[in-house]
Amino acid sequence: MAVISYIDAITMAMREEMRRDPGVFVLGEDVGVRGGVFRATNGLIEEFGEERVLDTPLAESAIVGVAIGAAAYGMRPIAEIQFADFIMPAVNQIVSEAAKIRYRSNNDWHCPLTIRAPFGGGIHGALYHSQSVEAMFTNVPGLKVVVPSTPYDAKGLLKAAIRDEDPVLFFEHKRCYRLIKGEVPETDYVLPIGKADVKREGTDITVISYGLTLHFALQAAEKLAQEGISAHVLDLRTLYPLDKEAIVEAAAKTGKVLIVHEDNKEGGVGGEVAAIIAEHCLFDLDAPIKRLCGPDVPAMPYSPPLEKFFMLNPDTVLAAMRELAHF
């Protein structure tokens, strides 16, 4: 099986789906001739032409709004928002429209739309090219919010998103794009949206994470194994709706839970995960639920020491895991 990067898995998923279904098309800023500023749509315009790989005017609400109309008509658009930070002008279209079309029409209309957006920091992107915006969308029934952390998951989940009958926000951690590599089958497969995945089995502590920080947890778990600490690592993969069963099972397994995400702590996804655990398996716990997250500041600053301070890293995650293990 070929080892490829996270971004190449995303491109592969789109290419396969565009070959499979003529209703699938891509639209966004610079997705055509340029192949995307991160190159996620590289080669697609050459294969599918500019009718199916549309360089749109620079206007995010139209990118999403036009995609909604096309999806309602029966197409399967993949709208790219160049950076998750720039999704804000399209929030009305995502939250008031895409998420509510099925419900408000009493199941008459629906909106099979995928919106891809790179998120996250660690690439010297400063305040407006580094944000984690997922928490804004994890309180919106009607939407699905997916964040893959491995190339295998990226391909299988993106294909599932494109085939889904409802709108899916697909957030890709941009630091993972070329940093994270893994085995990806060239065959057709889809992974279920709404299902978390155990990325490492363990018995002493449970770490629940997603995106780039999931990899920090896996690296830390490797080191802690040498200290005799066994970490269980759950990758949420879908942030809305959450896989409550998998969360409760993972928490109950060790009784000690650390939730890790790059997004800031207060109001983040970790709060909901903690609440699920508290509601369903409080008495299985042997320690207070811990959260290790980005600081509660508006966004990630530019200057290298400031960015480094904001970002979690394998060492900070390791320290938090060790501390919990010794509780």
Partner: protein, 333 residues
């Protein structure tokens, strides 16, 4: 007098039967609307949002479209448009009473939030102008599939300030998509008059920035509105791209059943506008050319009245949705 009157509808390709049908729809829209106000004031329905004063614009425009092929992304005042596309008085009353059978939303949305897949009417929401990019998306999809469909989207003059209007119009202009941007300029965005909404001369002027034709028309005249729409539809269908049409009308009633327009406009102004009531004007035209007389007008009114009565009774007695059905249709199966 009737012998001297100029027949304007034949000149634009409308048959005698078509203009009589237009008149029927205009009266039907008005009477459904008036009944909903009565029901609201009687405490029977919680909310009304009106088409009154805009019937000629709506019905003139809708007659230029092809049912079963073209698509609508209407706004909340477009009762006249959706009636022409196949919604019935009963459908409207079911929506007013928020009953389970309401075809727009099963009673989930306020009245005026039209939608019907089988009638090619895209479901709409309350944040204004969000439907404009949707119309552009349907047009794009139709073009990708090689269809020659046209998409009609409508909005008020206040909404022509929204980013979604400008983003959608620009997108459609760049891709030369078959979209009719139909602005029903009724002079007020709730309480705020036109001069506080736009610095340009007319809404139609806005089209020039997007590379297509903008045209202003007397929205109190269904024949003139039809003529302009027909040209735009033919251009769009032939691949000539979008058109912005501004139909100049007047909102004869408050913004909604929760509004009191005495706080921002004079009774004299409203009374003056009522002299241009499109239904009175069109009835006068039909009488002038001999297509309508007092007897046939009375018969038509009685027919519409009976239709509205039946619809009201049916909807009032229809069952509400089951409470727990509020949990359904968040996602597909």
């Amino acid at each position: 007098m009737s012998n001297q009157a100029q027949n304007r509808h034949q000149a634009v390709g409308l048959s005698d039967q078509q203009v009589l049908d237009m008149f029927y729809y205009m009266v039907l829209a008005r009477k459904i609307d008036e009944r909903q106000w009565l029901l609201n004031r009687a405490g029977k329905v919680p909310f009304v949002i009106s088409c009154q004063g805009q019937e000629a614009a709506q019905i003139g425009a809708a007659f230029a479209l092809e049912k079963g092929k073209d698509y609508l992304c209407p706004y909340y005042r477009d009762l006249g448009v959706v009636l022409v596309f196949g919604q019935t008085a009963r459908d409207c009353m079911l929506s007013a009473f928020a009953k389970a059978e309401d075809p727009n939303s099963g009673g989930r949305q306020m009245p005026g939030h039209f939608g019907s897949r089988k009638l090619n009417i895209l479901t709409g929401s309350s944040p204004v102008t969000t439907q404009v990019p949707h119309a552009v998306g349907i047009a794009l999809a139709g073009k990708m599939q090689g269809k020659d469909l046209v998409v009609f989207t409508s909005f008020g003059e206040g909404s022509s300030n929204q980013g979604d209007f400008h983003e959608g119009a620009n997108f459609a202009g760049v891709h030369k998509l078959p979209v009719i941007f139909f602005c029903e300029n009724n002079k007020y965005a709730i309480s705020v008059p036109l001069k506080k909404q736009l610095a340009c001369e007319s809404v139609a002027d806005r089209a020039v920035g997007y590379g297509f034709t903008g045209i202003s028309v007397d929205g109190n005249d269904p024949i003139e509105t039809y003529r302009v729409m027909k040209e735009a539809v033919e251009r769009a269908r032939a691949g000539g791209g979008p058109t912005l049409i501004e139909a100049v009308t007047y909102r004869l009633v408050p913004h909604s059943s929760d509004d009191d327009d005495r706080t921002y406009r004079t009774r004299e102004e409203v009374e003056e506008a009522k002299k241009q009531d499109p239904i009175l004007r069109f009835a006068a035209y039909l009488k002038e050319i001999g297509l309508l007389d007092d007897t046939s007008e009375k018969e038509l009114l009685e027919r519409v009245q009976a239709e509205v009565d039946e619809a009201t009774d049916y909807a009032e007695n229809a069952p509400y949705p089951a409470p727990e059905s509020a949990l359904t249709h968040v996602y597909g199966a």
